[in-house]
């Protein structure tokens, strides 16, 4: 905003952008090449055969499983998070900040560390299924979700709520008409983090999903290595693109909210 964009900076940035996307060349070239060998080469043929192969068989079911786990985790985290973060932000509960930071510190325990007790608990309560994965991921997400949501609610001026109360609004109306719309960007960001986190999650569903029907795409991709004998790179790359697409899509939908949302991340807890 100070000086006009110098040509040199623009060239440097363009150069960087090219470097950044260059690893994708392998993925794209192989995915659209029906005769793919896993080498980096210009395809002699072009076609969508790999994608046809990737969406047939188990892939559709795995896609739905991933969607269920990711959307379920994100929505549950946000709903549980909002209903706790609003009171935490507004009521002066003694030690609330120390409490939140302690939780975040606790989550530094590598998730592989709590995996075993989680597994035993899920086994005992019959939750070795999608619902179990959703609950487990929500438990692991909650500290960060709470901290971020509380920070966003802290930025909503309490005077607005006061004014609404004087006008006769109930608590529910105050929350749904004022607090939630004003922290929309932050909520979208938290939802997005939980969604991509759960979508990418590999270890937990691998251990929780005992039957092939319950595999999400991350586990399916991993399993595809073993079952195909010689690795079928065309299938693998096409499947990878399909697997990566939703997170990218959701990002573009929420893109305008992202920057606003991120401002809240840095606010002190």
């Amino acid at each position: 905003m100070d000086q006009g964009p110098s040509r040199l900076t623009a060239i440097a940035l363009a150069f960087m952008a090219v470097i950044w996307v260059s690893p994708f060349s392998w993925l794209i070239l192989n995915a659209f090449n029906p005769l793919s060998t896993g080498q980096l080469e210009i395809p002699r043929a072009f076609g969508l055969d790999n994608f046809a192969m990737a969406v047939s068989g188990n892939a559709g079911r795995q896609f739905l499983n991933s969607m269920l786990i990711a959307a379920g985790t994100a929505t549950l985290s946000v709903v549980v998070g909002i209903s706790a973060a609003y009171p935490l932000s507004r009521l002066r509960i003694p030690g609330r900040n120390a409490f939140l930071w302690t939780l975040v510190l606790l989550r530094m325990l590598p998730s592989a560390g709590v995996l075993v007790p989680l597994y035993f608990a899920a086994q005992r309560s019959g939750l070795l299924n999608q619902l179990g994965v959703i609950i487990a991921l929500t438990i692991l997400n909650l500290p960060f979700t709470l901290l971020l949501l509380k920070n966003f609610f802290d930025t909503v001026p309490i005077e607005l709520e006061e004014a609404a109360y004087v006008e006769g609004a109930s608590l529910l109306q105050i929350i749904t008409r004022i607090v939630l719309p004003m922290s929309k960007a932050g909520i979208a960001v938290v939802w997005f983090f939980s969604f991509t986190g759960a979508w990418n999650e590999f270890l937990l569903p691998l251990i929780f999903a005992r039957v092939q029907d319950a595999f999400p795409m991350s586990v399916g991709l991993y399993a595809a290595f073993g079952t195909q004998g010689a690795i079928n790179y065309g299938f693998l790359t096409a499947f990878s693109i399909l697997y990566a697409a939703p997170a990218v899509g959701v990002y573009f939908l929420l893109r305008r909210n992202m920057n606003t949302g991120f401002a809240g991340v840095g606010v002190k807890g």
């Binding site: 100070d2 964009p5 900076t9 960087m16 952008a17 950044w20 690893p23 994708f24 392998w26 993925l27 896993g38 980096l40 549980v80 998070g81 209903s83 706790a84 609003y86 009171p87 935490l88 009521l91 002066r92 939780l103 510190l105 606790l106 989550r107 530094m108 325990l109 590598p110 592989a112 560390g113 709590v114 995996l115 075993v116 007790p117 608990a121 438990i139 909650l142 500290p143 709470l146 309490i158 006061e162 109360y165 109930s170 608590l171 105050i174 991509t196 990418n200 590999f202 991709l221 693998l236 990878s240 990566a244 997170a247 990002y251 992202m258 920057n259 991120f262 401002a263 991340v265 840095g266």
Partner: protein
């Protein structure tokens, strides 16, 4: 003190309390599981076999093994190198530079670069691992563009320079987060302050170093805190790229923990590793939180 005068809150304490209940339950579960992970670290619990049922308490034996057996200290060093170069130097510094530079450029360039960086971040870990293995192997992009055309024999980068390659892959993957955070932080620096510094004759570098950096210091500390935690315990990318190898060249603590717990089945020893990791990251966080506290 303000909420005493907020009747919509005080008259609904019960509802607000009920709202917190599900979160408290789940947090209780998290505390419970964490407590179990701690307890396991004092046992010889195994994943399979006799000791998965008839385990016994072994006191501090697992923790002694951290220092007497090979593996833990080497992995700790690998992790420190990995975290320092990929998170602190790579993601943080590069993210900050990008945030500063892109603020001054046209919105099209800004959008394009932003989307390119985001693609790395949005890509699932396993797919990112495929990409980087393919890019750095003997027939990969780097060899085809920079090595073979100059008459050199192809180099198997992923094998010969495993740790640097994994580090670069993680910078590629993670810079977007730091960039977004710093970019939002710089937006919060009021324009007047920067303009005032400009009027007083500060060079662009001075404006960044002496004006903007101190103002966004809390954001820097938060960012450091988050990415250090994440990178310290980050597992899938490295595991899918190298499995910790060749040898133990890329065996970070997270990979070591996984190998011990689930490949070898030593759940007790594995828990001791995760407790040790928690202590180390906890100490680091205290340092960062001090940075957050306030200056001088």
């Amino acid at each position: 003190m303000k909420n005493q005068a907020n009747p919509w809150l005080t008259s609904n304490l019960l509802v607000l309390g009920l709202g917190m209940l599900p979160a408290l339950l789940l947090i209780g579960a998290l505390l419970y599981f964490t407590a179990w992970a701690f307890a396991f670290s004092f046992t010889d619990l195994a994943l399979v076999g006799r000791k998965s049922v008839e385990w016994s308490w072994v006191g501090l034996q697992n923790f002694e093994r951290l220092f007497t057996r090979r593996g833990f200290l080497e992995s700790l060093w690998t992790t420190v190198v990995f975290v320092f170069f990929s998170a602190i130097v790579g993601q943080s510094v590069l993210g900050f530079l990008l945030a500063v530079v892109l603020r001054g450029t046209q919105s099209t360039i800004r959008s394009v670069v932003e989307v390119c960086i985001m693609l790395g971040w949005l890509l699932p870990d396993i797919v990112a691992a495929f990409l980087w293995s393919a890019t750095t192997n003997q027939t990969g992009l780097i060899n085809q563009l920079f090595v073979v055309p100059f008459g050199f024999p192809p180099i198997n980068f992923i094998n010969e320079y495993a740790l640097p390659i994994v580090t670069i892959a993680n910078v590629w993957k993670g810079t977007a987060w730091s960039y977004l955070l710093f970019s939002a932080a710089l937006d919060s620096v009021s324009r007047e302050v920067v303009e005032a510094a400009k009027v007083d004759g500060a060079t662009p570098l001075q404006r960044i170093w002496l004006v903007q950096l101190p103002i966004i210091r809390p954001h820097i500390a938060t960012n450091m805190l988050f990415i250090t935690i994440w990178t310290f315990t980050y597992f899938p990318l490295i595991y899918a790229m190298t499995g910790g190898g060749p040898g133990t060249a890329t065996q970070t603590l997270a990979v070591f923990l996984y190998n011990q717990s689930f490949s070898r089945g030593n759940l007790g020893f594995g828990s001791a590793i995760s407790v040790a990791m928690l202590l180390i990251v906890g100490l680091l966080s205290l340092v960062y939180l001090r940075m957050l506290r306030e200056p001088k």
